[in-house]
């Protein structure tokens, strides 16, 4: 049934002559086929995403707590949830902290990832195989597993990180508690996130580097361009679309990150003083059972992420136009 309707593009373009009557009937079938094929996914996405997203908007204007959850209906409160969140100092502090955190994580991921990709181009074939295998191994580690390993390595009593730093002469880290300050907690989370994200970025950028035309690089070198100049004027323009996609994705992932900070810092040590946006939403919306307020936070978060990516996408697009 499915296959009988499968029509190659060539036939759609009308390249194949045939009896008129059959063509017109075929055309109707052709017109309906892609929609029939899309229907199941469209229905599924509508039910499991469209409906909850509409509900999210509705919830954000309602009082919806545990009582309402059992009754399955909330009461309208206008913009009370939004004004409560926007008047909450914790929200603004969390927003600032999350923006700085995201900038640091995305910046480190992109710079180190690109450097790794450039390294992969320069090494011998065997070293490339070894390094790529290592990166793929890291890439495959489940986040929850990585968190546990980090927790063990940075444990204040006998974590290997303290031992290595002390024996390298970096300083006295004997029984140093990495979980003592907000800065050091978030720095640890950053190492975990960057470590986990590097393989994807490095391997993707490395694949894109293969598309940099050799002749162009050689021509630039003959014209006397140094390695930095070649990188800026030849390599970066070719990489730009890939870097754009990777940066946007990293911003979205890191801004809403939850699992790494929540599990590594540990629920008992999570306070409004070290919230990131995802944790703020989880704690104040889900954990406290204030779903209406949580929905308002979620909507604000979606708007911020959208704004962040739009600004970036437009700037990159403009840069692309200037370059040509």
């Amino acid at each position: 049934m499915l296959g009988s309707r499968l029509t190659p593009d060539a036939a759609i373009a009308g390249a194949r002559p045939g009896p008129r009557r059959r063509v017109s009937r075929a055309r109707v079938a052709r017109g309906a086929t892609p929609y029939l094929l899309l229907l199941p996914v469209a229905v599924a996405i509508g039910a499991i995403l469209g409906y909850p997203l509409v509900d999210l908007v509705r919830l954000s204007f309602q009082r919806y707590g545990l009582f309402e959850l059992i009754r399955h209906s909330g009461s309208w409160v206008g913009v009370a949830n939004y004004s409560s969140v926007l008047r909450d100092g914790v929200f603004w502090h969390t927003l600032l902290r999350t923006v700085v955190f995201t900038a640091a994580n995305v910046g480190l991921t992109m710079v180190l990832g690109t450097l790794l990709a450039l390294l992969l181009v320069r090494v011998s074939a065997w070293a490339r195989v070894v390094l790529t295998a290592g990166l793929v191994l890291v890439w495959s580690m489940p986040v929850v597993v990585a968190v546990q390993v980090w927790y063990w390595m940075t444990n204040f009593q006998n974590g290997v990180v303290n031992y290595v730093l002390t024996s390298l002469g970096v300083g006295d880290f004997f029984q140093h508690d990495w979980y003592a300050t907000t800065f050091s907690q978030l720095a640890l989370v950053t190492t975990l996130i960057v470590w986990g994200a590097l393989p994807f970025v490095a391997i993707t950028v490395y694949a894109a580097l293969a598309q940099v035309p050799h002749e162009l690089v050689e021509a630039a070198q003959i014209d006397g361009a140094g390695p930095l100049r070649v990188f800026r004027d030849v390599t970066v323009p070719v990489l730009r679309p890939v870097l754009l996609i990777l940066t946007s994705l990293s911003i979205i992932w890191d801004f809403g990150v939850f699992t790494q900070p929540y599990l590594l810092i540990g629920q008992s040590k999570i306070t409004p003083g070290n919230y990131l946006m995802g944790i703020y939403l989880f704690e104040e919306g889900y954990f406290r059972g204030d779903y209406g307020r949580g929905a308002a936070i979620a909507i604000l978060m979606l708007l911020i992420v959208a704004a962040l990516s739009v600004v970036y996408v437009r700037r990159m697009a403009r840069m692309g136009e200037e370059a040509t």
């Binding site: 060539a10 399955h72 390595m153």
Partner: protein, 288 residues
């Protein structure tokens, strides 16, 4: 002439030296990146004395399987592994079938609304997962799907479906049109062309996408954490996250053994399909 040859040789030697330097850096980076994974496996095999000692041993001196035994004997390990397997296999099976149909439509037909659908599929993948926990929780509570594996399957489809549609589309586009046409010229029907040509060519893509969807679902934490309260119903990532509970004394060896066991299926599968999926992702991104 001999001077020129000398210059060439000198340049070649300099080049080789520089390459050796890059190789050394690559090995150092490799060691630093892989170390956490090594440390996890090494700890899992060490004896307790070695683990709690103040001076770490780099290799397990008296390798033991005791920690693995302790990990699997912890309450609910096998139950939660079974739960993970159920959730993951149902999610993947349903998603791949639905996504394949949509991917054929996107790859092989031009129609009004196609671009809109593509934008939708990409846009969904850009939604931060944390923003979805509240509405998904509330809606699923409305239909009594909280604390049920079926509810978790539905939430997992929110990210597996769009990803699978997009990746499969990339694989289907990669099939040369001429092959299908040749099959039809040879007298096959369209169904025949589909079964004989398209399916075998797409099969590796189907396998790769399924495996990657398997990994994503197996690794998922936040939806499972939010939806499943009952220990007997949790998935293996939630099991691992509760491993040490609130106790002050942490059994590091067993924790690392449990972590290793959780990671093993993912690592094996990932190594099998990574190359293919990385290709599919970039192909989709570049051609999008």
């Amino acid at each position: 002439m001999s001077a020129a040859a000398g210059a060439v040789r000198a340049r070649r030697r300099r080049k080789r030296l520089r390459r050796a330097g890059w190789n050394a850096i690559a090995l150092a980076v490799f060691a630093a990146m892989v170390f956490p994974v090594y440390w996890m496996v090494a700890t899992a095999f060490k004896s307790d004395d070695e683990i709690v000692g103040l001076t770490p041993t780099w290799l397990p001196e008296h390798p033991t399987l005791a920690h693995f035994r302790a990990a699997v004997e912890k309450p609910f390990f096998w139950t939660d592994v079974k739960n993970s397997l159920i959730v993951v296999s149902v999610t993947v099976a349903v998603s791949i079938v639905l996504a394949f149909l949509a991917a054929v439509a996107l790859a092989k037909y031009r129609f009004t609304g196609r671009k809109l659908f593509v934008v939708l599929v990409i846009g969904i993948q850009m939604l931060p997962q944390t923003a979805l926990i509240i509405p998904l929780y509330v809606v699923l509570a409305r239909y009594r799907q909280v604390n049920a594996l079926s509810g978790v399957v539905l939430t997992y489809m929110t990210f597996v479906l769009p990803f699978s549609v997009w990746t499969l589309r990339g694989f289907i586009i990669g099939i040369p049109k001429e092959l299908e046409e040749a099959a039809m010229v040879d007298g096959s029907t369209r169904l025949g062309a589909f079964v004989k040509i398209l399916l075998p060519l797409v099969a590796p893509g189907l396998v790769a996408t399924s495996v990657f969807a398997f990994i994503q679902s197996w690794n998922e934490y936040i939806f499972a954490r939010v939806l499943l309260n009952d220990q007997a119903k949790q998935t293996v990532t939630v099991w691992l996250s509760y491993f040490y509970g609130t106790s002050r004394h942490i059994d590091w060896g067993a924790l690392m053994a449990g972590s290793t066991l959780t990671a093993i299926p993912v690592v094996i599968f990932f190594l099998l399909v990574q190359r293919r999926i990385a290709f599919g992702l970039t192909a989709g991104a570049v051609r999008g």
